[in-house]
């Protein structure tokens, strides 16, 4: 299997700056939380390192990243280092002073904040996410700010008929709306009343497609096109042919090649799904560059099949078990490594 040379740095880095949250969403994919957060001094230094290495894009997430006391300083250092920053927040802890500070240290060219809400109707949003009125208050202040805002809405049984109408509530102050189907996380499976069937989901995306035609071209729906294609409602715009031209070749999957995740304990993970099978090192006491060039990192990049194939499903089966024996025999074995155990604060 051929593959490209290792890059000097990843293109994107997602830092999970907090491993705790002030909401308890029914379908959360991040739970259970350890209660830990990134140590500030090292986190700030790390952001400087990433900028110096030429990382293009940094995403600050959690947990809830706005609960980190030095989140604004991280953003300031990141944009000063030439990186573009995305902040993924639930919008609950967003005092005006924080918004003002973000306005001072960022521009529309280098910063975007994503706020998650499933409906401005508390009767819909509260049972699933909670604290609707606080998030709506945040959105009212953000829409008047100089910040670039993206609104993220999870589509589930409770909002499937009305989720798209959040656009008319905030457009044109907000022009970016990201929708995604509720995912079958362990948490979501405890709430089958929220899960959609195929027909309901398809109906939502087709409704959104029609509804969006009533808005100017600057309405940006990053997930619509992907969803329509995935559901067989092909949207054959000219750029689709470009997909056939991309020369990127990492061998198996891109885990550890172009993007990494860094946990609150500074573990560097090549994949946010196959976490325990993609540990590249820990940057609490080592530089990111040292970890990026380490043998452990190269082992993640050289995995013979995607790390998620090693994860057991509900019945204990793994995709790894279905690989052809002759292939597995020739594949170098990489035993899973254990992610640094998180310590609970306080």
């Amino acid at each position: 299997m051929t593959r490209d040379a290792v890059l000097r740095a990843p293109f994107t880095v997602c830092m999970w700056v907090t491993d705790y949250c002030n909401l308890d969403c029914a379908y959360c994919y991040a739970k259970p939380f350890s209660g830990r957060r990134m140590a500030s001094d090292r986190a700030l230094e790390l952001v400087r390192e990433l900028g110096a290495m030429g990382v293009f894009d940094i995403t600050l997430a959690g947990g809830e990243p706005m609960l980190h006391p030095d989140i604004v300083e991280m953003i300031r250092i990141a944009v000063a280092g030439g990186m573009r920053v995305g902040l993924l927040s639930n919008g609950v802890a967003m005092p005006q002073a924080r918004i003002d500070a973000l306005e001072r240290v960022t521009t529309k060219q280098n910063f975007i904040i994503q706020i998650s809400i499933d409906s401005t109707d508390a009767a819909i949003n509260d049972p699933v996410r909670g604290k609707t009125h606080r998030v709506v208050d945040t959105l009212e202040r953000l829409r008047k700010s100089a910040l670039d805002v993206q609104l993220a809405t999870v589509v589930h049984k409770a909002n499937v008929r009305s989720a798209h109408r959040v656009i008319e509530q905030y457009y044109p102050d907000i022009k970016r709306f990201h929708f995604l189907n509720v995912q079958r996380t362990a948490s979501a499976l405890q709430h089958p009343e929220l899960l959609l069937d195929e027909a309901e989901a398809l109906d939502f995306w087709l409704t959104l497609n029609d509804y969006a035609k009533g808005f100017p071209d600057d309405l940006f729906l990053p997930s619509l096109r992907v969803q329509l294609r995935a559901l067989g409602q092909a949207n054959t715009d000219p750029e689709a042919s470009l997909h056939a031209q991309a020369s990127f070749d990492c061998g198996v999957c891109s885990a550890g090649w172009t993007h990494v995740n860094i946990t609150a304990d500074f573990d560097v993970l090549g994949c946010d799904i196959a976490r325990e099978h993609s540990l590249m090192g820990n940057v609490a006491h080592e530089s990111f560059g040292t970890v990026w060039r380490s043998a452990e990192a190269d082992a993640v990049r050289s995995q013979p099949f995607p790390g998620c194939y090693k994860i057991a499903g509900p019945d204990g089966a793994r995709l790894q078990d279905h690989l052809k024996p002759e292939f597995v025999q020739h594949a170098p074995a990489h035993e899973p490594v254990h992610v640094t155990p998180a310590l609970v604060m306080g």
Partner: protein, 174 residues
Amino acid sequence: MKAQGKPSIELYMYSLNQEFPVKTGHATYLKRYSELKPGSRGEVSLNAAVESQVFQVNGPGIELPLGLPADWSVQWLENQWIENHTKAAGMGIREDFDPLRSILVREEDFGGVVFEPNSDRVYKVNHAGLKLISQMQEQARAGRPVGDMRFDGHDDDDVASFVGAMKAAGLLGA
């Protein structure tokens, strides 16, 4: 003197979220390397299997409800797997689009990489291409028209071809 070599540029990744090389992905991989059998339409009926690994749903008392859609935690696009965008928001479309000012360029051992945030694409250039783009960026930052530039050490046809490729990619205004 034509000492700089022929500049080249190619599309490297169609998105920062690209997870697999083009025309590969879980389905291609498993058809080739596993004993799982394709369905009647040639597809690999693995959506549920992949999803069961995307999220570890092997907790006590959890049973997969019947009749649910196949797999929404991964998004299939022409046999390619697109990451959940909420985890990597990207920067998207900008009203004040100026390609040369908005692209991010980084040196690599093979030359360099160019990230164009408006289309979310990454391009790969060789050393000569990296040098040309860097010169164009300097020109643009100084507020001078790129069309007035002279590129000493390069063949005019090579430069014209490179500039044409940049325009086609949206990295340079028409």
